[in-house]
């Protein structure tokens, strides 16, 4: 029986693991956290359908059906080629000998403190999109003082498409997430004024435009084209925003009760440590570089090492799952040959 190590038990890792184990291979699913599910596990509802993240994740886990061996709290300490196989040493000195490594390490969320001018960690009413999902989950969307927000703004592209933090790439999912979250806020507090400060709205996928349309026609969410330049705090701990409405061509000052930063995706640190051990290469954006952008985007430059999910760049959930299934079928073909 051939064996596979899948590094990272986010949705890509889970999906690939269930496909490969169904095909009769021995699968080790390595996860550094005590739980599986990755970023999706932190989410409340998903765009564009508002389906609960928990339901999607449970479906994926049900598919896995305990066939793969999940190694929790495990990080790769060492790995290298041994004959035609790979030897992996995990934390706690557990040794694995596998035929294939599938990298599904995913992404890291941009650390919002790096944009100090937006005041995350300095002003009490500045939160990130991840923080907001946690609030949705706990059904407790309030300002620091416990009051519901009367006015709220989302800032798009925090840590994405921003040369100054070294990220030129678009994180793909934040625009749709911001529109989704804006609608959810309006559902929760119909009287709350909601603003979205965007550069462009990238409503690229199926149903996204409908969602955007609904945000305006049904929920009266305000969209302002302009990047936030800086945030301040007034005596009532409201956040004072300085921006420009670039369509109207006017500087704008906006006071809000809660500011949500749409933090983007960055290449993850775990993946960076794997690079040197497995001879993988990163692109200029930090994400893994594939063998060919069009035809071989699940292949690495090292024979027997495959990629799936957001380790090769930002993806939506359907894209990630499709990528995982593609990778699983390629790994299977590789093992059979």
């Amino acid at each position: 029986m051939k064996s596979i190590a899948i590094i990272g038990a986010g949705i890509a890792g889970i999906e690939a693991a269930s496909r490969l184990s169904k095909q009769g291979h021995k699968v080790y699913l390595i996860e550094k956290n005590p739980e599986i599910g990755g970023h999706v596990a932190q989410w409340d509802r998903l765009f564009p359908s508002q389906e609960e993240a928990e339901i999607v994740l449970n479906d994926l886990i049900k598919n896995l059906n305990n066939r793969a061996e999940v190694l929790f709290n495990s990080e790769v300490q060492h790995c290298g080629k041994k004959d035609r196989q790979f030897e992996i040493i995990l934390t706690g000195n557990k040794n694995l000998l596998v035929d294939v490594i599938l990298v599904t390490t995913g992404f890291d969320t941009f650390r919002a403190q790096r944009k100090e001018e937006y005041g995350y960690g300095i002003y009490e009413n500045v939160i990130t999109s991840t923080d907001l999902e946690q609030m949705f989950k706990k059904h407790n969307v309030v300002c620091k003082n416990g009051n519901p927000p009367k006015r709220l703004a989302f800032v798009h592209c925090v840590g994405s498409r921003d040369e100054k933090v070294g990220n030129r790439h678009c994180s793909k999912v934040c625009c749709a997430t911001a529109v989704k979250q804006a609608c959810e806020i309006k559902e929760l507090y119909p009287d709350c004024e909601v603003f979205n400060l965007y550069m462009d709205l990238r409503m690229f996928d199926r149903h996204f435009e409908d969602m955007y349309h609904e945000a305006q026609s049904k929920y009266y969410v305000n969209f302002i084209r302009g990047r936030l330049s800086e945030a301040g705090e007034n005596k009532d701990h409201q956040v004072v925003l300085k921006t420009e409405d670039t369509l109207a061509g006017k500087p704008l000052k906006l006071t809000v009760d809660l500011l949500v930063l749409m933090t983007g995706m960055e290449a993850c640190d775990t993946q960076k440590t794997l690079n040197t051990k497995l001879g993988l290469r990163s692109d200029t954006d930090g994400f893994l570089s594939t063998k060919d952008v069009f035809t071989q985007n699940n292949f690495s430059n090292t024979d027997g090492v495959f990629f799936a999910g957001t380790c090769t760049g930002p993806k939506t959930i359907p894209e990630t799952l499709a990528d995982a299934r593609a990778a699983a079928s390629l790994v299977n073909a590789y093992l059979m040959s």
Binding site: R114, E117, G166, G232, K253
Partner: protein, 615 residues
């Protein structure tokens, strides 16, 4: 000592003489053109300087810098010796030569080649030994120059021995001039050695000459003797003719540059004559290459000061613009420059050329009526302007608004101190003008200065405190304010000294990064260190004081890509954290942002550290 030949001329002196006439004509025309290009008040300054006692100061400086190369000695002894051997040694040879002619053949002083080829035309008779002193001094000086030449050749192979990692890449014109220069002294040595049996010589030429004769006893008329004099003369002629087209132009322009600088002339607009002299005074020695982080870290060699001046010399304006707009203006090169070429000032001129009329109109609204709400001014008036009875105006600065932790820390410190203060730009302000000036927009900067001065002076405060070194430098140097200007590091140090605030010392290990605008460009080094010493354990680094590095996020370098900046920030953080400090402290919002990006160590403004540990 007597004349050996009836004729005082030989055809071989021609190459030298032609070269000399050429270079003197060139010098005369260039001098007239430079002086003519000077604005009238600068011409007056120059005249006043020349006819004052201060000219002796310039003379002394020319002697110390152009001949002795004092500043190069400070950098590296071997390098200093090499430069001095060439410049001062050659100068002495010329002096001895003229003294000899003056004493032994005064009627030949009108012949320019006579002092140079003295030993061809004159001879020491056995009965008179008057010349032996000069022969000895000549030989000694020649040996001195030759020792410099040996070092110069050695330097081409092993520059590290001279304290240089990088050196100038030579183009063909520089190479021709350099090899001609290198050839002059060995050829002179050979020619004089061959002739030592005939005209006499001292320990070096006579000694080596007798060895030659021991091998083969040639006479003057043998075919291969006279060409040595020809070769010596040709090398001199080639060097003189190549002089204006090579790096050696500085031999002519540097003395003039020193005189003009001491006369108080500055480069304020392009083509003023002074700037021309300045770029031709660059000796292309390459000393500025190592300090430049654009060269050593970001691989942008074309932006180095030495290459920027070359772009200007060759009229490559696109390249000069590129170099000027990627320059960080950290001034590490100007601090290192042995000649004192201020490329930062020249670069502002280059940038000024790029600024168009439209850009310069962007602040026109500042002088329109405040009540006219169609202008954006209502969004920009200073918020605290109504509180006029205060001790201190606190102006955080636009950059500090991007690092809000610093301005919050300063508010806490000001409140704790009990000083009456006015946080004048809490709600917004207009720019101090320095970023605009650094981008070359002089008129816009002037408008901002005018408006800000008006706004500050209407508040009767004693002190203006700013958290931004960029504003600090500009307020201090370009504003006429009714109050003293302090950077917050100076102000905090003062508050600590007079006991208005007290801090609990911690055991945190702190490294301080000197911001360019505060340290090298404004000379504030001690106050931030004193503040940090009172709050934690300040570690020293190899990059303290004038050696401090640029964080890479300089606002001056508008065309420098962020990726290059990031490489530089990473490099600086690595260099500063070799002793594993707990905190990397700085006193500039731009530096703070640059270092926070690297994600490697806790980065704080010194105001934050003080505010956290207030009693």
């Amino acid at each position: 000592m007597q004349e050996r030949l009836a004729s005082s001329f030989d055809p071989f002196v021609l190459p030298y003489t032609i070269g000399l006439v050429f270079i003197l004509t060139y010098l005369f025309i260039a001098l007239i053109r430079v002086v003519k290009a000077l604005p009238n008040d600068d011409k007056f300054k120059l005249l006043k300087h020349i006819f004052s006692l201060k000219i002796f100061k310039s003379g002394w400086e020319i002697f110390m810098e152009c001949l002795l190369h004092r500043k190069i000695w400070k950098k590296n002894w071997t390098l200093g010796y090499m430069h001095t051997a060439f410049a001062f040694g050659w100068f002495l040879l010329i002096i001895w030569g003229h003294l000899e002619v003056n004493i032994f053949a005064p009627h030949r002083l009108n012949l320019p080649w006579y002092p140079i080829f003295f030993r061809y035309f004159m001879m020491e008779t056995e009965t008179t030994l008057q010349g032996s002193f000069f022969f000895f001094m000549m030989d000694l000086t020649l040996l001195y120059v030759l020792s410099g030449l040996v070092l110069a050749i050695y330097k081409r192979f092993r520059r590290k021995a001279f304290g240089m990692k990088r050196t100038t890449k030579l183009r063909w014109n520089d190479q021709v001039a350099m090899y001609a220069l290198w050839a002059i002294f060995p050829l002179r040595f050979l020619a004089e050695s061959f002739y030592s049996e005939i005209s006499g010589g001292s320990f070096l030429t006579a000694g080596v000459g007798s060895i030659f004769h021991w091998f083969y006893n040639f006479t003057e008329n043998e075919i291969y003797i006279r060409p040595i004099w020809w070769a010596y003369s040709i090398s001199l002629g080639v060097f003189f003719i190549m002089l204006p087209w090579s790096r050696y132009t500085h031999i002519l322009s540097e003395p003039l540059f020193i005189i003009m600088r001491n006369a108080g002339i500055r480069e304020e607009h392009r083509n003023s004559g002074y700037g021309k002299v300045e770029i031709y005074s660059c000796s292309r020695c390459g000393i500025c290459l190592d300090p430049c982080q654009l060269v050593s870290v970001a691989s942008l060699r074309d932006s180095a000061a030495i290459n920027y001046t070359r772009h200007l010399r060759l009229w490559k304006s696109a390249k000069a613009h590129q170099a000027a707009s990627t320059c960080l203006m950290c001034n590490r090169c100007t601090k290192a420059c042995p000649v004192g070429v201020d490329t930062a000032a020249l670069k502002l001129n280059t940038k000024h050329e790029l600024v168009n009329l439209h850009t310069e109109k962007q602040y026109d609204y500042l002088n329109t009526s405040v009540k006219d709400i169609s202008t954006p001014l209502n969004a920009l008036t200073l918020s605290g302007a109504e509180a006029t009875d205060v001790d201190v105006i606190y102006f955080a600065g636009c950059m500090t608004h991007l690092t809000p932790a610093t301005k919050l820390a300063m508010t806490k410190i000001l409140e704790a101190s009990g000083e009456r203060f006015n946080f004048i730009d809490a709600e917004g302000s207009i720019c101090c003008g320095r970023p605009v000036l650094l981008a070359g927009a002089r008129k816009s900067a002037d408008e901002l200065i005018k408006k800000n001065t008006e706004l500050f002076n209407q508040i009767h405060a004693k002190t203006l405190v700013t958290s931004c070194p960029i504003c600090y430098k500009f307020f201090k140097e370009n504003y006429a304010l009714n109050m003293r200007v302090l950077h917050h590091s100076q102000y905090i140090q003062e508050l600590l000294k007079i006991g208005k605030i007290k801090i609990n010392p911690t055991t945190a290990k702190i490294v301080f990064h000197d911001p360019c605008e505060l340290g090298r460009n404004s000379g504030v080094y001690d106050e931030p260190r004193e503040v940090l010493k009172s709050v934690g354990q300040l570690q020293s680094t190899a990059y303290d004081g004038d050696e401090s590095l640029c964080c890479g996020h300089s606002i001056a370098a508008e065309a420098l890509p962020y990726r290059k900046r990031r490489v530089m920030s990473d490099d600086v953080v690595e260099k500063l954290t070799t002793n594993n400090p707990d905190i990397l402290a700085t006193a500039c919002p731009a530096c703070k942002k640059a270092f926070s990006e690297t994600n490697k160590i806790e980065v704080k403004d010194l105001a934050e550290i003080v505010a956290e540990n207030l009693v």
